[in-house]
Symmetry: C2
Subunit: 335 residues, 2 copies
DNA sequence: TGAGTCTTTGCAACCGGTTGCAACACTTCC
DNA sequence: GGAAGTGTTGCAACCGGTTGCAAAGACTCA
């Protein structure tokens, strides 16, 4: 059925080693042999079996890509970039959908069975312990979009969510808002915890600020919308920092439905800058997370770990910036 | 480093075959041996290497998942369902991002190197020829969301886009619209071609209808928006059937920006019923595509082909239904 | 021409499993 | 007790590749 090394060797009139070597970069083969082999391979339509060779080389070029964010449109961009970036480097993504599973044991077993060279966890909600299990099993792992720690046990690449919280707070203060609230994602998501911490830190220390907090049950449109509906039953804050863009859009929908205007009556700032945020009917002011850099850096890091497994864990953080659109009152208009 | 069969065999005091057999369903092992092996395996933390075994069994349980739709939010739902559904059956998705590549040769080589058991192409825009290349290479393949043909050369699972076009046309007629237009996706996308054909077929035969067509350059928000902006420079039609939901949302944004009201001034119907369509600030009337059934059926079909490779190609089509929301005037209000 | 060096080549063992086959063990039944 | 039948086990070959090693070949230079 499928063409093997042996058949090519026979047709080319050389040994199996010779064939193997023509398909191995850097191996020693004469031009003459190489040509014979290549011709035979062409005629038979041969292409080497990556799995068989992985048996001896110990490299499969498979990278496990684990995520539990299959409902946040941002992650379609993330998957797009991850898969392309991996492909460009000759690696193949083996996708694992965690949905609501949080025990690493299953994923670990699965990815070990397929001898992946490394693993990337792409999730803003999974705890560092999840990735730690892979680290302990001595599988190269990088947690992208994960929680930053000063002394990380596992490589983490992402943004400083605490600093983003501070940035959101300063932005709102600079625009003269004084009744300010945090509308977070799930209270146990690491990203929400950190963003809240930074946001709260700045606002609690500022006199004259009326600060409050609440949480949606998920990073989703519906959750953002219903939490905002609840908030609107009392007089709302002047401005909200929402856990992420999807949440913001849900909140926006609730606000507009009440007949209130954004930014005239309520201000809103999100986080992520997903494609939808710049849709003109949404036009969300938000904090941009540099996902392309995060992803490229994650892949570089996981490749580096494959070569030098004992590399000490590091945290790579990227700066975020504010994307000014239409959901906050302009800067000059301070009180 | 990693624990192998041999080590387990030595520890358990049995042959390698015995170990292999305890991990192979349906193989003949006595209870006593099985217990010894299981204990040894537990103690060593052994789990069998799926790739090594694939060498002899000829099955990797890897399924290639090919797509070029990494910008349409619908496909996040699609990937979610595909990966979960595959996992539930013990299969692993090897993801291939086609981005702008349309030559099957590369993907074919790649997936052949990894000896995938089967391939699912999830794309509404790829031509049937793409999948045909896999079929000719005798790799089990199913094209999901693909173009329906009466005598398909490759298994295709999806909807009858022509019938959807007719359905949209009838819906608009029933609501009394008479100046009706088609706002399609790229003119060479198979889905657009078929939807247009069905739509046109009904409307051309109906007297008193003023029918027109145009195309956006992509299935995207921006493309839908700018095409609608262009259309609005002349007096617009009373109602539009848009190529898909993202396009509809772009069009919606352009219409509202002009100060026109939906559905009072312009009616709109989309196709897909992606999650966003039911967001209250969009509230799009659309044709629902039963993606869960399409996906489950695709996976069943590809699994069936693995067992019986010579199965004749079939087209499996699923009925769509109209989801009534707020972008068309109500039924009773006929002229 | 011949010694020394560098390159190319094939052999054979190995990677981590599976499986046909024959030998063996254990029942069952006459 | 022995024959027949069933269930279990290990041997050895195999899946499709890679690679250390030693031998062969090509080349350089005196």
């Amino acid at each position: 059925m499928t063409v093997t090394l042996k058949e090519v060797a026979e047709r080319a009139g050389v040994s199996r080693s010779a064939v193997s070597r023509t398909f191995t970069a850097g191996a020693s083969v004469s031009v003459k042999t190489r040509r014979k082999v290549e011709q035979a391979a062409d005629e038979l339509g041969y292409s080497p079996n990556a799995l068989a060779s992985s048996l001896t080389t110990g490299r499969t070029k498979l990278i496990g890509l684990i995520s539990n964010n299959f409902h946040n449109p941002l992650f379609l961009e993330v998957f797009d970039l991850f898969t392309r970036s991996l492909q460009d480097r000759g690696l193949r993504p083996l996708l694992v959908n965690l949905s609501d599973e949080t025990d690493p044991a299953n994923s670990l077993r699965l990815l070990r069975q397929y001898s992946v060279d490394g693993v990337v966890v792409a999730s803003s909600t999974l705890s560092p312990e999840f990735s730690l299990a892979f680290h302990n099993a001595r599988i190269p792992i990088v947690h992208s979009f994960g929680k930053f720690a000063n002394a990380p046990k596992v490589h983490v690449v992402g943004i400083d969510n605490i600093e983003c919280g501070r940035m959101a707070a300063r932005t709102l203060l600079a625009r003269g808002y004084r009744r300010i609230a945090f509308l977070g994602g799930p209270a146990d998501a690491t990203s929400t915890i950190d963003r809240r911490a930074g946001f709260r830190e700045v606002l609690r220390d500022t006199s004259g600020v009326d600060y409050s907090e609440s949480h949606a049950t998920a990073y989703s449109f519906d959750a953002g919308r219903s939490e905002m509906q609840r908030l609107l039953r009392c007089p709302p804050a002047e401005a909200y920092f929402c856990g992420d863009d999807v949440l913001s859009i849900g909140a926006l929908s609730a606000i507009e439905e009440q007949g209130l205007l954004v930014p005239q009556h309520v201000g809103l700032i999100g986080l992520n800058d997903m494609a939808m945020a710049r849709w003109q009917n949404i036009d969300l002011t938000t904090i941009r997370q540099p996902i392309r850099q995060i992803i490229d850096s994650s892949i570089e890091l996981v490749m580096a770990m494959i070569d030098t497994p004992d590399r000490l864990p590091e945290a790579r953080l990227f700066a975020c910036d504010i994307i000014e659109r239409g959901t906050l009152r302009p800067l000059q208009q301070t009180e």
